[in-house]
Symmetry: C2
């Protein structure tokens, strides 16, 4: 695996190969990321992973400095899944003027859902992903469905700015007990970790009930909330149209139920698709 | 010359050739544009011109509908200078959702100089140029120095978003009497047209005087203003650092003097570089 630290070297490497799939990450890799790499191998003969802890997408009070940096362990994992190149730029390489002057400004969805609590977060995500696309020039890029709002925003950005990249959504990687894989899970105590899978369990109950013809979404949500609060998870939901993330009307065919739950220190997110 | 109307066809054409230089225009072509085409031929073996009257960059009170559309005459001119492909998309092709949701947001310079009078203009320019770059994927793109602020913003955008395109600045095309070529010149009456070259004449006087060691910029500006007002040109100036467009300090080595003059209906712009 080639480790590439500059934009110029990345471009030179890119020119020498034909099809490339990119997996953008902030490092601290787990099985979920490796599933993205596996999906990337399906898309192109060369796979590039980027590791860059992107200051732009951290808000006030979000601890950029404390974000786990585990470079050596990450490299080992990436070599084991046959990644061809790791793009690992410094901050000075991606933000040479310190301040990013030109930003990709997403529409209002950036301030909804998770964006309500993280002003500027999705602008920072969109901008760095646009930069990474321009540097690596991948044919395809893989993003997990766990960060569903992020995936939605990136798909919309690619369409709207005509970026020549195929966005490949990848199913959520889960622990055996159903908990969605996330670097945030590392912040859970043992007790919290034991309670955490209830989030997904409740999502599947809601989905199965909707698929069985139950249309009383409010009652389903209330029952799930009661179960989760009992276990210490304070929960926020939104059910939305899967394609636009706009409010779902009764009888919507393709729903996504998005959930965010505070459990101890971390805020866990998960979601489930309901296709009726 | 191939005439290409869809993003998909443009991409297919692009894939079949190696090096491409792009000249983005809004049509209504004159000699200045053809000089851009000549510069493009120096950059790549294939030259693409785009014609798209971009609604996004028109402000309130700026007449998008009245902008001259001269497609047949434009095609004739482009064929005569051996353009390989003309990208001529409809509005529905570039803005399929009508509203452009994701915008490239330039920094504060977008609201200075010409931007003071045209809120949103440079956001619209940056966004459509970013889209055109993503669609045509040129190796190089040529822009005239006449729209110096636009050129500055595009150069900065390319650096800041890491767009894989070389921006090629092209000298201002001028009529024999010195007037900078512009589609706006068509709005001048015969009398105004006769007065218009004074703008450039005064710019050259200022430059030559500065090069000769005169440092009283304020006096130079006042003298030029008096001469221009006598001829009916109401003028705004800014002398700036050529690289950043920030305020020039005394003794600045690389200056640009930017001028905008109202003459009858149109607002003419011109500029001159001073390298000491």
């Amino acid at each position: 695996m080639e480790i590439i630290r500059t934009v110029e070297d990345m471009r030179a490497w890119r020119r020498a190969v034909s099809k490339v799939a990119l997996v953008p990450t902030m490092g601290n890799l787990h099985e979920g990321h490796l599933a993205l790499v596996a999906a990337a191998h399906q898309q192109a003969d060369k796979v590039v992973v980027s590791i860059f802890v992107n200051r732009l997408q951290f808000g006030q009070g979000e601890d950029f400095d404390a974000y786990p940096r585990t470079f050596e362990a990450d490299c080992e994992k990436l070599r084991a899944v046959s990644v061809d190149a790791l793009f690992f730029p410094t901050e000075a390489e991606l933000y040479p003027r310190v301040k990013q002057d030109f930003n990709v400004e997403p529409p209002h969805i950036q301030n909804e859902l998770c964006g309500m609590f993280r002003p500027g977060h999705f602008r920072g995500v969109a901008t760095v992903v646009c930069k990474l696309f321009n540097i690596v020039q991948p044919d395809a890029a893989c993003f997990g469905k766990k960060d569903y709002q992020q995936l939605h925003i990136i798909k919309a950005m690619v369409e709207d700015l005509n970026l020549p990249v195929k966005v490949v959504p990848v199913d959520i990687g889960r622990a055996e007990d159903g908990l969605a894989l996330s670097s945030r899970n590392g912040y859970l105590t043992a007790e919290e970790r034991a309670a955490a899978p209830r989030l997904y369990r409740n999502l599947t109950v809601m989905r199965d009930s909707l698929l069985a013809g139950n249309n009383d979404y409010a009652a389903l949500e209330a029952a799930a909330r009661a179960d989760l609060e009992q276990a210490g998870l304070s929960i926020m939901w939104k059910s939305a149209r899967a394609d636009t993330l706009e409010i779902a009307h009764a009888g919507e065919k393709h729903l996504i139920i998005l959930a965010a739950a505070r459990l101890g220190k971390p805020r866990l997110i998960d979601n489930i698709e309901v296709n009726r």
